[in-house]
């Protein structure tokens, strides 16, 4: 009976984990597909709309004014005819007045929000779109610029019913859910079988846990493969759709002229025109007008799909040939594969964190915890990891668009420009966070970690809700300040929780695990938030984040074991000595200057330098996302293992030195090669180095004499702040060496290597003195 109960509860927990994990990955896949599909549909609309906009621009250059444009309905009608899903095609002036649609003169105006979006987005992008949930329509906005690079005279607006755009994505969602349901059912059966097998084994619990992870992982991989297949098919379908649209439009253009009496031999400069259209569609290799019998090489391309055209007045015939670039399509399919892999890995991260929580809950029996020795895993390790995961999941849901929120308000902020105002929320968050670290670090000894944790968690929930409700830029900035305070207080409290572990070894193991949870939360939160934002808009995502962050409060109250909640850090006799101010202690200051700040600055290669470098090579946000994922994977899956190995084989200062050395090597390698591959290698090395180096630094400062006087948590708070200083200094350093090109990054790496050597030497001298005086 007891065995049966055990099997039952094991299966139940595993199935819960299966449902959570598969639910998360399916939701991400569906969200990602919807986002990609919508973007793909908008791109095909933009091809047709862009052509019309170019025709209008040409006429404007010939002196026709946009507010009195004879015959504009001809261009707009052509767009509507080539896009069956489209309801309406309009032209609005720069002041937002709608002047025309496909039937001729029209009245109306774009909303203030639309005009703001147009002004903001079209300054940097060729198109932008929005979903209007009042009318249930998608609206694509394309600028009309008479002079290339000049101000827009107006905007071409394509309006399509939301249902028409979402239909395909809806079909995908239903198909995926059905398929995943079948796979999940098979997984549940496998879990049941696994539980039964585990029950009869002496190492049953461990076998069950590992086996469940493998089964659930395989289920996710199977679902991921199915998703990838659907993504692939959708992409191929979208290229076919775009090709069909372009061919229809070009046929219409050419045959329209033929109907007006123009002959094929009078279509001068059409090659330039077709080249322009080809350039706007990345998957086209060539577009040619084959005037029957011409022996031009381009017209003989066997890869051309031919579209016959009408004969002209002189009886001459021709055909339109469009060739798709197989190389580009293959490259895009490879991107889709990598993106699918990224979704899968993020889902596995989520699954792993959830498994730690559920297995910990499943294991928690009063008799077991009382009998647990320090050699067993301290509960604080799981709790700090999961709490960090939850916190960063909620915090990073808004990571992709916090700077953009300032641009959504009607009013400006303190007279700053758009880009200046965009930086304020993050700067304020960091500044207030730094202050909070110092204050929380000094208060934690008096109040214990739990009070600070409750305060921090409540504050970040409040901050997220405030961000959701912010009616003005000032209110939003205030909300971000509150976020900085709450998040850093909660982070310091998590360090404080770890500090309550009696065993030095367990404390050292807890730090990389906490970082692993943090980075898992970062990756999962960022991808979830970005997908939600594309569906709901920015501010509603803060509400969802508030709900997630509220789970931290619930977890602290209900998930953290009572004994952990009540635990306080061990205070040694030496800590009763009156405190000296920490920064007067040269060893900790020296450590900050030689290691903490420089390594943190060097690690800004990923968030600061890599996106700029990748963009300069024409790479998109998916490439940047992959780099962040690689970094996150190092922390989540490699960090705890590497940290354990380092603890076993190296002393703390050598662990710090080795990680700093690997960081330096990463930068030097990139500076030497300067390629995208070298950049990815650098990101990998930085991830590896930081995954065990960052916790090692915290352990190191906690072992310094100053920590015995001020308390480990306080000194670790200083360490956190020193890392923040590095995060601020890093971009300045990278931009400072930008004049040297990629070699400048190598110079930074060599400088870091020098500082590392100085640290090693000074640490050796200090150690020698300590041993001599002992």
């Amino acid at each position: 009976m007891r065995q049966g109960n055990k099997v039952g509860s094991s299966v139940l927990l595993s199935v819960v984990l299966l449902v959570l994990a598969i639910g998360f990955s399916t939701a991400i896949s569906i969200g990602s597909f919807r986002q990609n599909h919508t973007a793909s549909v908008m791109t095909s609309f933009a091809v047709a709309g862009g052509k019309a906009a170019r025709n209008i621009e040409q006429a404007l250059r010939y002196g026709k004014p946009l507010d009195d444009f004879h015959g504009i309905e001809r261009f707009l009608g052509q767009v509507k005819a080539s896009l069956p899903e489209v309801d309406r095609v309009m032209v609005a002036l720069a002041d937002g007045r709608v002047m025309y649609d496909e039937n001729g003169r029209a009245t109306g105006a774009l909303s203030a929000a639309e005009q703001r979006q147009i002004r903001r987005d079209l300054a940097a992008k060729p198109q932008t779109f929005a979903y209007d949930d009042t009318s249930g329509t998608y609206r694509l906005f394309l600028p009309i610029r008479p002079e290339a690079g000049g101000p827009a005279a107006g905007t071409l607006v394509i309006v399509a019913k939301g249902t028409a755009v979402k239909e395909y994505a809806q079909a995908f969602s239903e198909s995926l859910i059905q398929q995943v349901g079948v796979i999940a059912l098979a997984g549940a059966v496998a879990l049941l079988a696994l539980a039964m097998i585990s029950a009869s084994r002496p190492d049953g619990a461990r076998f069950q846990r590992t086996g469940a992870l493998v089964v659930i992982g395989l289920v996710q991989i199977a679902a991921g493969i199915y998703s990838y297949g659907s993504f692939r098919d959708a992409y191929i379908e979208s290229t076919q759709r775009t090709t069909a649209i372009v061919s229809r439009i070009l046929q219409s253009d050419i045959e329209g002229l033929l109907q007006r009496g123009v002959r094929y031999d009078q279509l001068h400069g059409i090659e330039t025109y077709l080249a322009g259209v080809q350039g706007s569609v990345p998957h086209f290799r060539s577009i040619v007008l084959d005037r029957g019998g011409q022996a031009r090489p381009a017209a003989q391309d066997p890869g051309l799909t031919r579209y016959p055209l009408a004969a002209d007045g002189a009886g001459a015939s021709a055909s339109l040939g469009i060739a798709v670039s197989e190389e580009y399509v293959e490259r895009r399919l490879r991107d889709i594969l990598l993106d699918s892999g990224a979704i899968l890995l993020t889902s596995l991260m989520f699954m792993f964190e959830m498994s730690l929580l559920l297995n910990r809950r499943g294991q928690q029996r009063p008799e077991e915890s009382a009998a647990a020795s320090e050699k067993d895993r301290a509960p604080q390790r799981i709790c700090s990891r999961f709490l960090a995961f939850l916190m960063y999941f909620g915090l990073f849901m808004s990571a992709s668009f916090v700077p953009l929120v300032m641009g959504t308000f009607d009013e400006g902020f303190l007279g700053l420009t758009g880009s200046q105002a965009a930086a304020i929320p993050i700067s304020v968050e960091m500044a207030f966070g730094s202050l909070a670290i110092l204050v929380a670090g000094s208060l934690i000894r008096r109040f214990g970690w739990l009070s600070i944790a409750y305060f921090g968690a409540a504050t970040i929930v409040l901050a997220a809700a405030a961000a959701w409700l912010s009616p003005s830029p000032l209110a939003f900035v205030a909300a971000r300040a509150l976020t900085g305070v709450g998040s850093m207080c909660l982070l310091v409290s998590i360090y404080g929780m770890i500090d309550t572990i009696r065993s030095q070894e367990q404390r050292d193991a807890a730090l990389p695990e906490m970082l692993a949870g943090m980075y898992a939360g970062v990756n999962c939160g960022a991808i979830t938030g970005a997908l939600l934002a594309s569906q709901l808009g920015y501010q509603p995502v803060f509400l969802v984040a508030a709900a997630v962050l509220a789970l931290t409060l619930a977890y602290i109250r209900l998930g953290v074991p009572t004994e952990v909640r009540a635990a306080r850090a061990e205070i040694k006799a030496a800590e009763a000595v009156p405190k000296r101010w920490g920064l007067g202690d040269l060893s900790v200051v020296g450590f900050f200057l030689l290691i903490s700040i420089p390594t943190s600055a060097a690690a800004m290669f990923l968030p600061y330098f890599f996106p700029v470098f990748a963009a300069s090579l024409g790479e998109g946000s998916n490439v940047i996302g992959r780099a962040f994922l690689i970094n996150g994977l190092c922390f989540v899956f490699l960090g705890p293992w590497l940290a354990a190995k380092a603890r076993k084989h190296l002393s703390p200062h050598w662990t710090v030195a080795v990680s700093a050395g690997i960081l330096a090597l990463a930068l030097v390698l990139f500076g030497w090669q300067g390629t995208l591959v070298a950049a990815f290698l650098a990101v990998l090395l930085i991830g590896i180095a930081d995954s065990f180096g960052s916790p090692a630094q915290s352990s190191f400062v906690a072992s310094l004499p100053i920590a015995r006087r001020l308390g480990r948590a306080t000194v670790q708070a200083y360490q956190l702040n020193a890392r923040k200083v590095g995060q601020v200094v890093g971009p300045l350093l990278f931009s400072g060496v930008a004049a040297m090109g990629v070699a400048g990054v190598g110079v930074l790496g060599m400088a870091l290597a020098v500082l590392m050597v100085v640290f090693v030497l000074s640490a050796a001298i200090l150690l020698k003195r300590t041993l001599a005086t002992a």
Partner: protein
């Protein structure tokens, strides 16, 4: 990103300028918003008596008159003008006027003997006498010459002048915003020539531009020479000028033949000197124009018509000009209605930009060796593949 719901309750929509909607599907009013047009009414217990004057028979004059009549029909001052004898390209206004005069409309009377044509050669004094006697309530005047003769202080009958190239330089209007006389109003589109020349120059980058015109105040006004000179100085090309005398009587065949001979001589001379020719308003008939255009075509000189697509059809390479007369007709009808409603002509907006259309003649292009770009063809409103009346 989804639209924020809160944005839909914000008052951010702009109200359209009322005048634009009043003027119909084409054309724009001047800067100020125009109030609604008055409700049709009689002049006490009688109808309003309207007269008409023109310098000569011209397509633009007939088209503008037709547009004004249609506009008055739409506004309810007259009814059912569908039977009016007018076809596109027509220059005769007498038949139209006779048809209008024979009607019995409720509010307005197109006075049968108040159609005055040929003012380019005929004296204006009898008309002025009639106006001074108060016989007419409003005069519709077409063209620069007629405008110069009738938009004067010799009478106080409201006089609305249309289709004059530049009333300011012609001397019968003070400025774009002020006619200078309480009873005078003149339609203004002073930047049209500038727009045309800028486009012509950007297409061909000529160094010397040929222009033929009558070297009188009226002739310079008709051809908008002041603007041509201004643009030439700004863009850095020089003018090659030739002068011809305006025919004193367009009904006299001998005078007209002399005129055509002068034109031929002038165009032949500038064809030899200029890189391009700006064809200004002239008093040729449509059937005689192709022969004149041949002079420039044979010498492979690019040409731009100040007038519009009718000349492109008959042998000019390109033009950017008004689409049709509906827009100016609506604008004119509204002005007439307001004057009849009691408004002073001087206080009414005069500026109205004709809706421009782009016209190319591909046969001309082929003959002069110019390849019209594909993009330009797509943007064109009128494409002529033959030269009407060219005869091979």
């Amino acid at each position: 990103m989804r639209m924020d719901r809160r944005d839909f309750v914000r008052r951010a929509a702009l109200l359209p300028i009322l005048g634009s909607s009043l003027l119909g599907a084409s054309g724009t009013a001047s800067i100020a918003a125009t109030p609604a047009f008055p409700v049709p009414r009689r002049n006490g217990n009688r109808r309003w008596r309207i007269g008409y004057a023109e310098g000569l028979s011209f397509i633009n004059f007939a088209g503008t008159l037709e547009g004004i009549v249609r506009g008055l029909d739409r506004q309810g001052w007259i009814s059912d003008t569908s039977g009016m004898p007018y076809v596109d390209g027509q220059s005769d206004t007498k038949a139209m006027w006779d048809w209008l005069a024979a009607r019995d409309d409720q509010y307005v009377e197109f006075v049968p003997d108040a159609h005055f044509g040929g003012l380019s050669s005929a004296p204006a004094e009898p008309i002025v006498e009639q106006l001074r006697a108060g016989d007419l309530d409003l005069m519709i005047v077409m063209g620069t010459v007629a405008g110069q003769k009738l938009a004067t202080d010799a009478h106080t009958t409201p006089t609305l002048v249309f289709s004059a190239t530049n009333p300011v330089t012609a001397g019968f209007a003070k400025s774009e915003s002020d006619s200078g006389r309480d009873h005078v109003w003149a339609h203004m589109d002073l930047s049209r020539t500038t727009r045309q020349l800028r486009l012509f120059y950007e297409t061909f980058r000529f160094k010397k531009l040929g222009v033929v015109y009558e070297d009188t105040a009226g002739g310079r006004g008709v051809a908008s020479i002041g603007q041509v000179e201004e643009v030439a100085e700004r863009l850095g090309f020089t003018l090659v000028r030739r002068f011809v005398d305006r025919p004193t009587n367009t009904r006299d065949p001998e005078i007209m033949e002399r005129y055509y001979a002068e034109l031929s001589r002038a165009w032949t001379e500038i064809a030899g000197e200029a890189d391009a020719v700006y064809v200004t308003f002239g008093q040729w008939t449509p059937d005689r124009f192709p022969a004149l255009a041949r002079i420039l075509i044979d010498r492979r000189v690019p040409t731009f018509s100040q007038s519009g697509p009718e000349e492109v059809e008959r042998g000019v390479l390109m033009s950017i000009a008004r689409a049709d007369f509906r827009g100016i007709g609506n604008f004119g009808a509204t002005t007439v209605a307001r004057v009849l409603g009691g408004a002073k002509p001087r206080g009414l907006p005069q500026v109205y930009f004709d809706t421009p259309t782009i016209a190319w003649n591909l046969e001309v292009a082929q003959r002069i060796g110019f390849q019209v770009p594909f993009n330009a063809l797509l943007a064109a409103d009128n494409i002529y593949t033959k030269i009407t009346g060219f005869g091979g």
